[in-house]
C-alpha cells in the first residue's frame, strides 16, 4: 500500500479563485481528515469525514467544504481564495473506529497551495 496519497503536489492560484484538493486513504480506512498547516505552525484541523458523513469541523469559514466518496476518497474545496489560504493542506486517514481526535492519523505528503 502506498499509504495516503494526495493530488496535486503543488498548486498556484490567484485571489478569488476556487481550488479542489484530492485525497485517497489507506486501503481499509474509512475516515479521512483534512488539516491546514501554515508555515511555522502545527497542523490545524479542518474536517473529518467518515462513511461519507461529516463527523467533525474545525474553526474554518464556509468557504471551506469537503466531501467523501463511496470509495472513501475525499475532496477539499476552497472557494474565493484569500492570500491567507496559502498553506500546506494535509490529508490523514484512519480506520474510523473513533473520532479524528482519538484515532491514530496516517498522513499524506500534502498539497502545497500558493495564493497570489
Amino acid at each position: 500500500d502506498a499509504g495516503v496519497t494526495q493530488s496535486p503536489t503543488h498548486l498556484i492560484k490567484t485571489r478569488g479563485q476556487q481550488v479542489t484538493l484530492r485525497c485517497s486513504p489507506i486501503s481499509g480506512h474509512k475516515s479521512v481528515s483534512w488539516y491546514q498547516q501554515v508555515l511555522g505552525q502545527g497542523p490545524q484541523f479542518i474536517f473529518q469525514y467518515y462513511e461519507k458523513e461529516e463527523r467533525g469541523r474545525g474553526n474554518f469559514p464556509d468557504r471551506f467544504s469537503a466531501r467523501q466518496f463511496p470509495n472513501y476518497s475525499s475532496e477539499l474545496n476552497v472557494n474565493a481564495l484569500l492570500l491567507g489560504d496559502s498553506a500546506l493542506y494535509l490529508c490523514a486517514s484512519s480506520p474510523g473506529r473513533t473520532t479524528a481526535s482519538t484515532d491514530t492519523q496516517y498522513f499524506g505528503p500534502g498539497t502545497r497551495l500558493t495564493v497570489l
Binding site: V4, Q48, R57, S101, G108, P109
Partner: protein, 107 residues
C-alpha cells in the same frame, strides 16, 4: 477550549545527551495525548500516544494530569532523532496540534 503549548521552537543537543521536549495542554475533558514526528523529507507520523504507554525508538512520554503536561523524553539522543516534533491533544471532536519543536542532535 483545547490548547497545546510547546514552549521551545528549537532544541539542540549533542549525541548521547538526554533530551526532553516539553508539551503542556489545556483541556477540561479527558485528554488523549500524542506525539507526532516529521523526519526530513518524510510524512508526519505518529511516534507514540499516552494510552499505549510504549517506548518507541527509546522515547517515552508520561501524562501528568496535575501539571497538564506530556513531555517527551529520551535518555540518550541519536543523530537520527533530528526532526520536527509535534504534541497533539485529542479527546473531543478534533485533534489540536502544538506549533512544534525542531530537535537537532549534533555529532
Amino acid at each position: 477550549a483545547q490548547r497545546v503549548t510547546q514552549p521551545e521552537k528549537l532544541l539542540s543537543v549533542f549525541k548521547g545527551a538526554p533530551v526532553e521536549l516539553k508539551c503542556n495542554y489545556s483541556y477540561s475533558g479527558s485528554p488523549e495525548l500524542f506525539w507526532y514526528v516529521q523526519y526530513s523529507r518524510q510524512r508526519l507520523q505518529l511516534l507514540l500516544r499516552h494510552i499505549s504507554r510504549e517506548s518507541i525508538k527509546g522515547f517515552t512520554a508520561d501524562l501528568n494530569k496535575g501539571e497538564t503536561s506530556f513531555h517527551l523524553k529520551k535518555p540518550f539522543a541519536q543523530e537520527e532523532d533530528s526532526a520536527m516534533y509535534y504534541c497533539a491533544l485529542g479527546g473531543s471532536e478534533k485533534l489540536v496540534f502544538g506549533k512544534g519543536t525542531k530537535l537537532t542532535v549534533n555529532p
